[in-house]
């Protein structure tokens, strides 16, 4: 067992974990933060994307012990007091989800993009989301939602 201290969505947790525990399993099984889903076994789908110290990572491809001393933001840490962020609202308004399985990862990847490029082109949006697969929407509305959010004054 290895001792870790991780701040997740604003709360600091201290835990003893097996080194082989993946960050996504730590979030879901230990902390009960099931907003972050697991979509594949090959690190390809991006459904599990969270922010680790401010940048997007695939939480299925990070060990919980590697997050020791770090700050994690999951999709559950975005809205405050039930108030959705501009990006979340744009996903809702533009019908950027159907089953919703890819949505947490899409949101986290899109946040990352908007931090680096506050006003991306549709090409830049598509490139930035290339590590996130969606089986339902055909992506069009996801791209529209990210673009709509980028046009708002409020930061995503």
């Amino acid at each position: 067992m290895t001792h870790i201290s991780v701040k997740v969505d604003g709360t600091t947790y201290e835990d003893d974990v097996e080194p082989r525990l993946l960050l996504v399993h730590y979030l879901r099984d230990r902390l009960g933060l099931t907003g972050t889903p697991i979509g594949c076994d090959t690190s390809n789908c991006g459904a599990c994307t969270v922010e680790l110290d401010g940048v997007s990572v695939k939480s299925c491809s990070v060990l919980a012990v590697q997050a020791d001393g770090s700050e994690v933001t999951t999709v559950e840490g975005l809205a405050h007091d039930g108030e959705l962020t501009a990006l979340q609202r744009a996903f809702h308004d533009k019908h950027a989800l159907q089953c919703g399985y890819c949505t947490p990862g899409m949101l986290m990847a899109a946040r990352d993009l908007l931090r680096e490029h506050p006003h991306p082109t549709t090409d830049e949006i598509r490139h930035a989301l290339e590590g996130n697969l969606c089986r339902c929407t055909g992506y069009q509305n996801i791209v529209r939602a990210v673009q709509a959010a980028s046009e708002e004054e409020v930061p995503a």
């Binding site: 695939k58 491809s61 060990l63």
Partner: protein, 284 residues
């Protein structure tokens, strides 16, 4: 899937890491960005007894100049490489090729050194470092040694690093004044190269004075297209480049898989080499 159980250490210096690797022997594995190792563990294709996490060793991340060389620390991520002003200025080929690796989340964690140590023939960066005439600096219990890129890649997923050696930095001669282009052919976004061609071209008086070409995924190790490199000397127009590119697949040993036959890969090599050289030479 859940990875197999292993012991874990997180050394705080290179010496400590090397000691841990030496004690762990063949059963120890370095963990850098984890973007190749963790998928392997999840698929239960690797069973290390000890994982040595070098991610927090101070001084291993970052890019600096050393005279005519660019020195890239082992924990420098793909994302760092793509955005680093020194890399963009002196090794633009590496920045351009790294931008085609995987996706932003993987690039935030994965490292240049990890890609090289992993020695996957489909990885984009081995052929790039080979074309740049780079060298790797390894540290082990017997001290430091420098390995030229042409001696570093031994076979499929096998580098010349010993199990108790840590790759600490990658050194690249500055390629100032060279035109460059990385041409990657893949079927879907985010997937690995079916074939990739890394081209560096130095021009003088409107002609190609010197060319260096690295091939991705045309053998169990990255290759240089030496016949084409020689044939390009003196080439002054697109037709001469196209003629030289005809020999790009000479000496290759492409594999057969679900997406391509060796013959198709050879064809791609010729076409992509022509495109890459034309773009690098500004003749496209």
């Amino acid at each position: 899937m859940i990875p197999p159980a292993f012991d874990y250490v997180r050394p705080t210096s290179v010496d400590e890491a090397v000691r841990a690797l030496a004690e762990g022997g063949e059963e120890a594995k370095v963990l850098a960005g984890g973007q190749s190792l963790l998928p392997l563990l999840r698929l239960r294709l690797a069973f290390p007894e000890l994982v040595v996490d070098v991610g927090r060793i101070p001084g291993l991340r970052g890019v600096r100049e050393d005279g005519d060389m660019l020195v890239i620390g082992a924990m420098t991520t793909h994302h760092d490489v793509v955005h680093d002003p020194l890399v963009r200025r002196h090794a633009g080929l590496l920045a351009a090729a790294t931008a085609t690796v995987a996706d932003p989340a993987v690039r935030h964690r994965g490292t240049l050194a990890g890609s090289l140590a992993h020695a996957d023939p489909a990885g984009d960066l081995p052929a790039v470092v080979l074309a740049l005439d780079g060298e790797m600096v390894a540290q082990g219990p017997r001290g430091r040694r420098t390995i030229a890129a042409r001696d570093f890649f031994v076979d499929y997923l096998q580098s010349s690093l010993e199990p108790d050696e840590l790759l600490v930095e990658v050194r690249l001669p500055k390629a100032d004044g060279w035109g460059f282009h990385y041409e990657k052919f893949h079927r879907v976004s985010q997937s690995w190269a079916m074939v990739g061609v890394a081209a560096l071209v130095r021009r003088a008086d409107g002609h190609i004075a010197e060319a260096r070409i690295g091939l991705t995924n045309m053998s169990s190790v990255p290759l240089r297209a030496t016949a084409t490199e020689q044939a390009l000397t003196g080439a002054g127009d697109a037709e001469a480049v196209a003629r030289a590119a005809e020999s790009a697949a000479e000496g290759t040993h492409a594999s057969q898989d679900a997406s391509a036959t060796p013959e198709y890969r050879e064809h791609l090599t010729r076409v992509l080499t022509r495109r890459a050289v034309l773009a690098a030479a500004g003749m496209g």
